[in-house]
């Protein structure tokens, strides 16, 4: 059930993409195959007919050579043209579908719940997604198109031979369809297991290689480096086994189709010889029939790869499909109605999807506009969850959340493979160059910026590679300033920075946050020091809410890490 639903989702994607192009590609592919069959068939007929006509001068002179020879030349050119057209159109259509697929997947993942799940996904699963996307293109190029053209060719060949003899035509068409589709279908079932095992073994090989490189220190110190090499070799052995299974099946399809072709050719020879003996046909038609039978098996060979990979393709369909089906709505936070209040939570309970324990338990909170709040507590106390709920990233199971528009400054610096301008424009698409330069200066990046010859057009690597962690943090800060939202939620903003940079970043944040409501989750004293209020969290609850100037405030500050 689920399988067919996902398959439908993916098929719908292909269909919605550009059905005319998809159909045109399949039709051109059929035309190519038919031209090839007709070219050889007509040539065979022509040679046999001329040979017989050439036996006497009279028949030779009466023979119309021009129509068939022109036909042969036309088919030669038409075949080339349609083949070229087929390749262009099918590739274009596939690229278009894949472009659409990426957009749809992104939107599918970008809804709140899915986004969190995505963040929690190990890199291995993220990587799997890319492989799945690539696997999908074989659905059209290697399954649908060859299926259409091979089946079409079998029907047309049957029809052509049916004019010679109905039984012959019917027999050939049925044989071609039964064997030509039956063998790949059997192979697809047979190869499904090795195809899955192959995909799995490749993932294992990949994961173990990552473990070898990343965990090399641990492994060598534990005397297990050799064992890890062996386990990689073992994964390769399993991969080789699955590869071998698929190759055996693929070769089996080739051999079976080859044998079927030989059987068909021998059978058609006997039939046409019998028909000729009975005087129903002459040698030219016999030659035509034989050459049609010879060429009509060929297009089925193109199904070989698609059939063997079908297991893998369906696996991709199953994994990708749900993201194309589901349309969840993002939780939108209300705006607090009371004047002067920036954030209001009433009895909020929340849990992460799939988690047994609640991340927030009955949290109530009122934060006034312009207040600066520090959020402290051990790792896992619920600080990040509280920020996520306020930002609308995590939906509350119970209770009421209201907040002015808030921007979340994530714990991990999230920069993108894009230009500096593109990274900044994400926060505010209306910002012009001057505004961008201003915020870069505000974040303390002017000096570094001056060293970039391409200026705002400088490209950042994947995940912001090319910028040091300090620079990346500053750039993220510049983006925050450019956003200019009334509420800033900062999740451990200077973690991992050296003291000097950290203090500079804090000072700059404080400078630009005037008039804003600020909430900082932190372990470090320097980040909490300027706060009007400190909230102490434990086990998903706020256990203390203290204001500056009280003794509790000072003791909470003293409990934080000094550096």
């Amino acid at each position: 059930m689920i399988r067919s639903r996902n398959l439908r989702a993916v098929a719908a994607l292909f269909w919605a993409g550009n059905r005319n192009k998809l159909l045109a590609g399949a039709l051109l592919s059929l035309a190519t195959v038919l031209c090839g069959i007709a070219l050889l068939g007509l040539s065979g007929w022509f040679i046999a007919a001329t040979a017989i006509a050439g036996l006497s001068v009279a028949t030779a002179l009466a023979f119309d050579v021009f129509a068939p020879s022109a036909g042969i030349r036309f088919l030669a050119l038409a075949r080339t043209a349609s083949r070229y057209g087929e390749r262009i159109v099918t590739h274009d259509a596939t690229l278009e579908v894949l472009a659409e697929l990426r957009e749809r997947l992104f939107r599918g993942w970008a809804v709140a719940g899915a986004a969190r799940a995505m963040m929690a996904r190990p890199a291995r699963l993220l990587f799997r997604l890319t492989i799945d996307i690539d696997a999908l293109d074989s659905l059209y190029l290697r399954v649908m198109v060859p299926l259409f053209s091979a089946a079409g060719a079998a029907l047309v060949a049957g029809l052509a031979l049916g004019f010679i003899d109905v039984r012959l035509g019917l027999g050939v068409a049925l044989f071609l369809l039964a064997v030509g589709l039956g063998v790949p279908a059997f192979a697809a079932r047979h190869a499904e297991r090795p195809a899955r095992r192959r995909a799995h073994a490749l993932e294992v090989l990949r994961a173990r290689s990552i473990d070898l490189v990343r965990g090399q220190g641990e492994l060598v110190m534990a005397g297990r480096l050799d064992a890890q090499s062996m386990s990689i070799a073992e994964a390769d052995a399993r991969l080789a086994d699955a590869d071998d299974g698929m190759n055996r099946t693929e070769t089996g399809v080739s051999v079976a189709l080859g044998v079927a072709g030989a059987v068909l050719l021998a059978a058609v020879l006997l039939v046409v010889a019998t028909l000729a003996e009975a005087g129903q046909i002459g040698a030219p038609v016999a030659a035509l029939a034989l050459l049609v039978a010879l060429t009509a098996t060929e297009p089925f060979a193109a199904l070989r790869r698609g059939a063997v990979e079908l297991g893998r393709t369906l696996m991709a369909v199953r994994r990708v499909g749900p993201r194309l089906n589901g349309e969840e709505s993002a939780p939108a936070n209300k705006i607090p109605q009371d004047a002067g209040i920036a954030i209001r939570l009433e009895g909020v309970t929340a849990r992460h999807p799939g988690a047994a324990e609640v991340a927030l338990a009955d949290v109530s909170l009122r934060i006034e506009r312009g207040e600066r709040i520090a959020l402290v507590g051990q790792s896992g106390a619920g600080k990040s969850s509280l920020l996520s709920v306020i930002a609308g990233e995590l939906a509350a199971d119970q209770g009421d959340v209201a907040s002015l528009p808030a921007t979340l400054f994530t714990q991990r610096t999230e920069l993108f493979h894009d230009t500096l301008r593109g990274n900044l424009a994400l926060a505010n698409p209306a910002a012009d160059d001057d505004a961008m330069l201003a915020v870069l200066g505000a974040a303390g990046l002017s000096r570094h910026f001056a060293t970039l010859p391409a200026g705002l057009d400088t490209w950042l690597g994947e995940g912001g590679a090319g910028f040091s962690s300090g620079q990346a943090r500053r750039l993220a800060m510049a983006r925050l300033v450019l956003r200019d939202a009334p509420v800033w939620l900062l999740d451990e903003p200077t973690e991992g920075l050296d003291r000097e940079t950290a203090n500079d970043v804090i000072a700059r944040v404080a400078n630009y946050a005037s008039g804003k409501t600020l909430m900082v989750s932190t372990h470090i004293r320097r980040e909490a020091e300027g706060a009007d209020r400190i909230l102490h969290m434990n086990n998903g609850r706020i256990v203390a809410d203290v204001r500056r100037g009280t003794a509790d405030y000072e003791s909470l500050l003293d409990g934080l890490r000094p550096d």
Binding site: I47, V65, L75, G223
Partner: protein, 585 residues
């Protein structure tokens, strides 16, 4: 090239796992030679024979039609039909057997190459700056290396077929008609010429373009990883549109290249189709008596004419196959290069392949450590981190290594553990020199707690045991208890943790590393690299306590910048590196 092009190009390289460097022409030739040898002569011979079997099969078919034309009865067709069947079966089986053989040989070559590359990765120190990232190494070893199999399995058979089969066919055709032979002979060399003219290069460009298509995946991944930020800026719609727009743009550019690239194969198709058409028309006109020349003075029979026609398409087929494997060749050679690059070892890890000579018995007690005249720099031309450095630590001493910047102290710990070979000087543990031969034995006496402990996919218990000899369930549960992880381990039970320690907090991951280090009680030296960095105060205190507990009665060396932890040690050594590193920003 626009900056967009440059950036995409740059990224497409690691994303598609392509080898960027083409700096090893010698290696490339070596690889090609290796690929040639990859498939045995038998495999090639079987496939060539299969192709050649079409000759007698076509002859039988032509003769049978000739028989029909001559009015021979259906009974005369039985023998050729049987022959066609037998030869057809033989052809399929021979081809199947040949390609299976070729596949197997190519596949075992891939396994051998993987083993080589893995061995080289093991030998390379984790401190080597030129070492590939884990992601790149994994995609080279796993996905990219797969391209070797089709290349090795298909290229040589296809090339041999292209060299032998057309010649054999040409010879057969020439026997009957020099005109038909000439038509084929003229069409064949025109193919490579025209292909070169229209787009052999364009085809390569198209492959690069398709690799960029792979980089679209990287684009998607890059944006998915930062979804929280994108959502926070209300930029989901903009980003999705941008993703679509650049995918569309890439599609347009790809198609522009493909339109030209596919022309080259269209040329091949055209010549093949025209070659067949011209042969058919010539033979037809010749049989009709309009073109009397070309058959060595005689006149072709129907069977002979048909035979020539049947051979014509097969003349071009091997050429078409060869052009198809050309694609495999490009990616196969790139895979060879990339694997070879992985196998280039840089900085050496001490005693990577050595195995311990004997099981040490019992407790080794606290060990002494002495470092004499140590010299080390990260790169040959770079400033030295250590030059003439000495350090002596008594058995049972607890020492904190502190340094202004993070560099020197972590490097020193790595040197002591043999994770990187020094440029000079000696390191002695318990009086024994740390070298390739003795490293494995010495490491049995060392417990290591790295700065960013790697968590392997598996259970908490398997992460503690790591499959080590002598670390059974008893030792594991003991170790977990020592670092207060028992409750967590019991709660998780057989649940998998892992890939990068997903599901564990920073403190829990560190505790796990401590448990790992304490699971082998016979160790006498504990090395810990910044164990309390990035932890909140309470957790840092607990970790420090656990560390001291598990290293009781042993020598302990801790690299740290945490003054609280340092104050709990017997001695603090502040490293004076020859050159202090500049500001981080």
């Amino acid at each position: 090239m626009t900056s967009v092009d440059a950036a995409l190009e740059e990224r497409s390289a690691p994303a598609a796992g392509r080898a960027v460097s083409r700096a090893h022409p010698a290696g490339r030739q070596g690889d090609a030679a290796q690929a040639e040898k990859g498939v045995s002569r038998a495999a090639v011979l079987l496939q060539v024979t299969a192709s050649l079997l079409w000759l007698p099969q076509a002859a039988l078919l032509a003769m049978a039609v000739g028989g029909i034309a001559a009015g021979e009865g259906a009974s005369a067709a039985w023998l050729p039909a049987l022959g066609i069947l037998v030869l057809g079966v033989a052809r399929s089986v021979a081809d199947g057997a040949g390609s299976r053989l070729a596949f197997r040989q190519a596949r075992s070559q891939l396994s051998a190459l993987r083993v080589q590359a893995v061995a080289a990765l093991c030998e390379t120190s984790p401190l080597d700056t030129t070492r590939p990232s884990s992601g790149l190494a994994a995609s080279t070893l796993a996905e990219q290396a797969e391209a070797i199999v089709p290349y090795v399995a298909r290229f040589r058979p296809a090339r041999q077929k292209a060299a032998i089969v057309p010649l054999a066919i040409l010879a057969c055709v020439f026997v009957y008609s020099w005109v038909a032979g000439l038509v084929l002979l003229l069409a064949a060399p025109l193919i490579p010429i025209f292909m070169a003219l229209v787009g052999w290069r364009a085809k390569q460009a198209s492959e690069e373009q398709l690799a960029e298509m792979g980089s679209m995946n990287a684009f998607l991944m890059d944006r998915l990883r930062g979804l929280t930020t994108i959502r926070s800026f209300d930029a989901v719609d903009r980003t999705a549109n941008r993703l679509r727009a650049s995918a569309e743009d890439l599609r347009r550019r790809t198609m522009a290249v493909l339109r030209i690239a596919f022309l080259s194969s269209a040329v091949l198709e055209l010549f093949a189709a025209l070659g067949v058409a011209m042969v058919a028309v010539y033979v037809g006109f010749h049989l009709l008596g309009e073109l009397k020349f070309g058959a060595w003075g005689g006149k072709l029979t129907l069977a002979e004419g048909l035979f020539i026609l049947l051979l014509a398409p097969s003349f071009f087929e091997p050429l078409r196959d060869l052009s198809a494997v050309w694609h495999d060749r490009a990616s196969g050679q790139a895979a060879f290069e990339a694997l070879e690059k992985l196998a280039q070892s840089g900085r050496h890890l001490v005693g990577a392949s050595a195995t311990p000579t004997s099981l040490r018995e019992g407790q080794s007690g606290a060990l002494s450590l002495s470092v004499e005249d140590l010299r080390f720099s990260h790169t040959a031309e770079g400033a030295p981190v250590f030059s003439g450095f000495d350090l002596h630590i008594q058995p049972g001493e607890r020492v904190a290594l502190m340094a202004p910047s993070g560099e020197g102290k972590s490097t020193l710990l790595a040197l002591i553990a043999g994770l990187v070979a020094p440029d000079g000087g000696t390191i002695r543990i318990d009086g024994r020199t740390l070298d390739d031969a003795g490293a494995a034995d010495l490491r049995r006496a060392i417990a290591w707690i790295g700065q960013d402990p790697h968590i392997f996919p598996g259970t908490i218990s398997s992460n503690v045991g790591l499959g080590r000899e002598g670390v059974g369930p008893k030792q594991v549960s003991h170790a977990l208890e020592a670092v207060s992880l028992s409750r967590l381990a019991a709660a998780r039970g057989p649940a998998m943790i892992g890939e990068g320690g997903f599901g564990l907090s920073g403190g829990e991951a560190l505790r796990l590393a401590l448990a790992r280090a304490s699971a082998t009680p016979e160790t006498g030296l504990v090395l810990a690299d910044e164990p309390t960095a990035h932890l909140d105060r309470e957790t840092a205190q607990e970790i420090a306590g656990s560390l001291l507990r598990i290293s009781a009665g042993k020598t302990l060396v801790v690299a740290t910048h945490d003054p609280v932890l340092a104050s709990r040690m017997d001695r603090v050594i502040t490293l004076q590196t020859p050159q202090t590193a500049g500001g981080a920003l």
